[in-house]
């Protein structure tokens, strides 16, 4: 499939708007998880404004695609999107970190329309996403074919579209958590082919490079060994993002969960934050970054 230049350009502009909203959020709070929020912007833009099936009038539409932000500290990026869709009022963007705000410090399902999962304790989102996918299989009673069936009973296999798909955004450092790999096994066992994990591989944890903190490589091989369909892309390249996401539309029925490893840059879009690989920013660092952001994204 080829996506038009117009679409790519339009989504690029949307990503800039999302960054603008993120800047507004940080301006209100004076601090935030700047690195992992900026690195995930193109991913969530491609998901929300192009790929995912949503009803802007009803965030609770039962057939909507679900986004599970397992790295819930990057919720600023989702808030920026939800404000754009209209599920949270734009004037609330300045209330991040405040009591009673829909913009909680970490994503909270109770406080924010459109947030599917209350996160913050890392490593649990993929299990939650797998549970949602299993629920879809149980409700529709359509279990994808087993390896045996695919090999020997091909003529009985019919492709189908799931009622909903579940996208789970993980951090690279988050994959240190053992539970991620428990979930990876579980998803393979139950052939959850409507589960798409997207790893925001921005290469940095809080204390330093992921490769030094606790190496996760060979990362692609790990997912493959767990039985997943895996691909690698540039997580800031919108064309690559929409191509690979739309490609997964043709893969349902294959019985395999899918993992998109998106190579990204921590703090992407703000040179000051890119240089420092900063996870959490406050004080001068955030002020300088915000100044650059205001000029760049309006």
């Amino acid at each position: 499939m080829t996506h038009s230049e117009e679409l790519i350009k339009e989504l690029g502009e949307k990503a800039d708007v999302v960054r603008k909203n993120i800047i507004s959020i940080f301006e209100g709070s004076g601090a935030g998880h700047v690195g992992g929020t900026m690195s995930v912007v193109e991913i969530v833009t491609a998901l929300y404004f192009h790929h995912m099936k949503l009803d802007p009038e009803n965030y609770d539409w039962p057939e909507r695609d679900r986004l599970i932000l397992s790295k819930a500290h990057s919720c600023e990026a989702i808030y920026a999107i939800l404000a754009e869709i209209g599920w949270i009022p734009k004037e609330k963007l300045s209330t991040y970190y405040r009591f009673g705000s829909p913009l909680q410090g970490h994503a909270d399902r109770w406080c924010t329309p459109g947030i599917e999962y209350s996160g913050g304790s890392l490593g649990q989102g993929l299990s939650f996403a797998a549970g949602l996918c299993l629920a879809e299989k149980l409700k529709t009673k359509k279990t994808p074919p087993s390896e045996f069936a695919k090999k020997y009973m091909t003529k009985y296999i019919t492709k189908y579209n799931p009622t909903y798909r579940v996208y789970c955004i993980l951090g690279d450092g988050e994959c240190h958590e053992g539970q991620v790999w428990e979930a990876a096994m579980f998803a393979t066992k139950y052939r959850l082919d409507n589960l798409i994990a997207i790893v925001d591989y921005n290469k940095y944890c809080i204390d330093g490079p992921t490769t030094e903190i606790l190496p996760i490589e060979p990362f692609v091989d790990k997912w493959k060994a767990f039985g997943w369909w895996v691909t690698e892309i540039d997580g800031h390249n919108i064309r690559q993002l929409v191509d690979v996401l739309d490609l997964t539309n043709n893969l349902y029925g294959d019985g395999r969960p899918k993992c998109i490893i998106a190579h990204t840059v921590k703090g992407h879009g703000i040179s000051k934050w890119e240089e420092s690989h900063s996870h959490h920013s406050r004080g001068d660092e955030v002020a300088e970054g915000l100044e650059e952001g205001r000029i760049k994204y309006g």
Binding site: S121, A135, L138, E182, A183, F186
Partner: protein, 333 residues
């Protein structure tokens, strides 16, 4: 001869497992969205699922953290997942998953977990911290049934209740079976204590297996003309404050008994209610601040019961100690 209240008909000792299995089957029959989540430890009532609804079995393997988060998501989509395992793993290992994935959103997950000071399985499995660990977490109801009948009825009650519940089960594998206490028509009510035996001099508030020891001690003390009240506190959270305050008002001495650490369990729950409402002489009986180990039960003796001082004789001594405190303080009546 001790006279017990309505719905009490003391029988022989019998493990609660069969009651749980029966309750699970009944609840699964009534609620077709109830799912069995296994952690490679078998499952009470699995025969019903295998026969009637094998597609409602979700085997999660030895991955309790994943199971808890998966259960949360299944509940988010309208199912009622029942997790079953040993408390040290189902609660202990998945503690953070219960706190993060299940409780903030009040997902309708039921956790059936086995624990207690007694079993042959040693320090790992003889978990005495589960109630303390869960009591502190908001949004969670904690139930600890006292006999086979209450076990069966509590499963249906927690299924009908919408919200997360921890159902505490006995450890098994060498834990002593409780007496059959209740009649078939016993009306179990979530959040309500039940007075098994009336009495005026002191009240034993017991939970789980220790209700059995409380009944035995009431019989022992009856011979000495000491008239104790016995309350079965099967819902530990939210605790039945009215029953506790009433017992303190009417008997003036409270003894709690639990097969759990004395830190953070039933005793401290009751103590908090008394301290704030009606300060009353009290003795807390349970596992002192120590880990358990293996122990076996023979006809002659129960090694761990002796070690932890949780037998009827120990409880009788605690009752007398509490009555002495009451007299010393000149508390009324």
């Amino acid at each position: 001869m001790v006279k017990f209240n309505k719905y009490v008909d003391i029988g022989e000792p019998v493990a609660t497992a069969a009651g749980i299995a029966k309750g699970v089957a009944q609840a699964a029959e009534k609620h077709d969205n109830m799912l069995a989540l296994l952690e490679d430890l078998g499952y009470p009532g699995i025969a019903w699922f295998l026969k009637n609804a094998p597609d409602r079995i979700v085997e999660c393997g030895i991955a309790e953290a994943n199971a808890a988060s998966v259960a949360a998501a299944l509940a988010a989509e309208g199912f009622i997942p029942f997790i079953y395992g040993f408390a040290f793993a189902t609660i202990g290992r998945a503690y953070n998953q219960i706190r993060q994935s299940i409780l903030p959103d009040r997902f309708n997950v039921k956790i059936m977990a086995r624990q207690g000071a007694w079993s042959a399985l040693g320090i790992s499995h003889n978990y005495v911290e589960g109630i303390a660990a869960t009591r502190v977490m908001p949004n969670l109801v904690i139930v600890n049934p006292g006999d086979i009948i209450e076990a069966e009825k509590s499963v249906m009650a927690i299924t009908d209740y919408i919200g997360p519940v921890f159902l505490n089960l006995e450890a098994g594998f060498g834990s002593p079976p409780p007496l059959k206490i209740f009649t078939e028509d016993y009306p179990f009510e979530l959040g309500k204590a039940y007075t098994i035996k009336s009495g005026e001099e002191a009240t034993i508030i017991a939970t789980g297996y220790m209700v059995t020891e409380a009944i035995r001690v009431s019989e022992l003390l009856d011979k000495e003309n000491i008239d104790v009240r016995v309350i079965n506190m099967s819902t530990i959270k939210p605790i039945d404050e009215d029953a506790i305050i009433k017992a303190a008002e009417e008997t003036g001495a409270i003894i709690t008994a639990e097969n759990h650490s004395i830190i953070g369990g039933l005793g401290e729950s009751v103590a908090a209610v008394l301290a704030e409402n009606i300060p009353t002489p009290m003795v807390i009986v349970g596992v002192e601040d120590e880990f358990s180990q293996s122990g076996i039960i023979t006809k002659e003796m129960d090694e761990l019961k002796v070690h932890f001082k949780l037998g009827a004789e120990d409880l009788a001594a605690a009752v007398k100690k509490c009555i002495a405190k009451k007299k010393k303080l000149g508390a009324t009546p």
